[in-house]
Symmetry: D2
Subunit: 215 residues, 4 copies
């Protein structure tokens, strides 16, 4: 089995992005699955192209995109991507979409094929905070998650894909009082645990754990 | 113009639900629009039926569902409803769905027809915290928002509908330390402001404000 | 019985201070006690002088100072004032002390004579969030609380005094996302409840409720 | 120079306490100072006796007590200890004091002799969140900080001492949603940085950084 794992580069006022830093430190093999790692740009109109080429080059069974979720306390696998771009800030190319669909001929939303409850449980079992999120936002993170799902819909029907958000690193919150963080080592441990769950649940669907969010 | 506004009854460990309390106190007319108010049960398999009957009875131009979002700091119009039920707790009929689609023949998600950015801006202009949310959760709030959208898709193509979450009331956080709340009077002011925005934007779509969430 | 209640004027970037706004709206009599209300300036080197004169003029049995605690979720009676000025921002006269004792001949700290647990319980009973705080900070709030205690120590041994912090108002958090607030009406209700507790506990000391903070 | 560093054992519902875990992992020498490490019990009536004996045995120049502050986001050197015990929960001996002074003949509060602003700055410079706190609570953490100051007041006038709180570990927040944490490795880095600042500022007092808290 082959799993393509992507990580965004830094954006906004941050000089570092935990996503690509953690992805770079992942082992090359997890539970027998080969891990292929790539950096992708925090650019709406370019990130999908980079992932698309990597899918063509590597023919992975799974794609897992990793992104930074500043302000979240936990590692959060995402359940759904929506057909909507709306930038609170400009991306690294200076582009700031407003209220725009990503693909006119795409579904309103796509659900991930990943076993998100099993992934969250595996992260918790590794001693780290985690829960399944039902929003990836409206910035590049939701964008790339949606774009890969759109590729599955139109071009790679066998592929399975999803997204996981991770918190700020400690050095990112030095000037952001009362903001949660997680260390890079913990990010690596957590992502590795989540990927282990993907491998173990392969072909079995997700677990039936109690979850959901009231709002 | 006629606007049907619904509010859920209390659920879980709470004896009160700010949603129905605020809805009951709304004026009967806002910016010239007639406001029809109904209480709906916090029951997955019943709330849609009640709203459906109210739509048939009242033939509204708009439906706005109001629900409690414990833990949120702001009044939050919702952008999207997803085809997914997953109960962290049982509903008022003791039913607790897990990982279930709401309608097999429904879209993965539906976007609201309401001008959510204009609604949030109107609430802010009224001196209250607000932002557009991109998740209504996976409990009855998302469920009813999705169900009304499904009705629009299948039966009422002219109808426009959406959802707004509101925080806990102060007396709900007496035993929940460090949890945000908003007073009932502020809820009424905020919902009224949001409805005013719906009326004013009728036929014009949403405003182009900067918004979106990074995650 | 006579109770002098003081409220600070606005400071920093805020055009309004919930403290003086709430104080102005208090009833003139609570549980039979006469309530005397004054506004005091957010100025280290002036606020104590204003309160001192008001004590001489009014000869109150109690002094209760009210101040804004941006970021707190609850109405919080303060247990202790420390002999230390340290301004994160300048006061309204442009003065920003660093690491300075308030009075060289004062105690390191003074405990309030007010029944703070009874006050917090009364606020909770009124349906509003409350707990006893063990820090009034190092800005003008701690300063005035300390100064009045110093006056008790040196000049008015019969006087009893204390401080209560209150959260931001809703309109103060419109541009401060994810920040708690409380309405002015709730502030008035909460302060009134706390003062009622002061009157009822007069001569009896505080209640023995479980309280305290782990850190 | 010799520095005695103490860490509390686990208490309440937790099986682990980051304080003693981090203390055990500190280097034996920091900036040339010898580090002596001891575990102390989370017991009001015993912890001071253990530290007192360790002071007699080791004759340290400094004592730094480390304790857990569940819910805090940062490593927080404490400025002041108050003469007040009030247990929200019982200690490890089942004792739960209410509204009690620690020493009838002690000061109302004692300020630390440690350069707390320099310590916080050193932690920030190490890439970790930190600020100076003005409350150590009313549980055993404040108790031991006060007790050591009382010993300085009555018995060891040359000794300098203080306290630093550290957040939950990641595995402690697995079942505490939306609660901040810090890794054990980061705790060790942060405490080491704080101790380095103590050594470097020895004989120089604290730095004049802007600090303080508004409330």
């Amino acid at each position: 089995m082959k799993i393509l794992v992507t990580g965004f580069d830094p954006f906004g006022t941050d000089k570092i992005n935990p996503a690509i830093e953690a992805v770079k430190k992942l082992p090359n093999e997890i539970e027998g699955a080969e891990i292929v790692k790539i950096e992708i740009p925090t650019i709406f109109n370019k990130c999908a192209e980079v992932v698309h080429q990597a899918i063509l080059d590597n023919k992975p069974d799974y794609v897992l995109d990793i992104g930074q979720a500043g302000g979240r306390f936990a590692l959060t696998p995402e359940r759904v991507a929506i057909n909507f771009d709306d930038g609170r800030i400009a991306d690294n190319a200076g582009f700031q979409p407003r209220n725009q669909p990503i693909h006119e001929d795409g579904q309103n939303a796509y659900f991930t094929q990943l076993p998100v409850k099993a992934m969250a449980q595996a992260v918790l079992d590794a001693g780290l905070p985690s829960y399944v999120s039902t929003t990836a936002g409206t910035y590049v993170c939701n964008h790339i998650m949606y774009q890969v799902q759109y590729m599955i819909d139109k071009e790679f029907p066998e592929l399975k894909a999803g997204f996981m958000h991770i918190p700020f690193l400690p050095n990112q919150v030095v000037a952001r009082p009362d903001t949660p963080c997680l260390s890079l080592a913990d990010d690596v441990t957590g992502i590795t645990a989540a990927i282990s769950a993907i491998v173990k649940q392969d072909g079995k669907g997700d677990i039936e754990a109690i979850g959901g969010s009231l709002n």
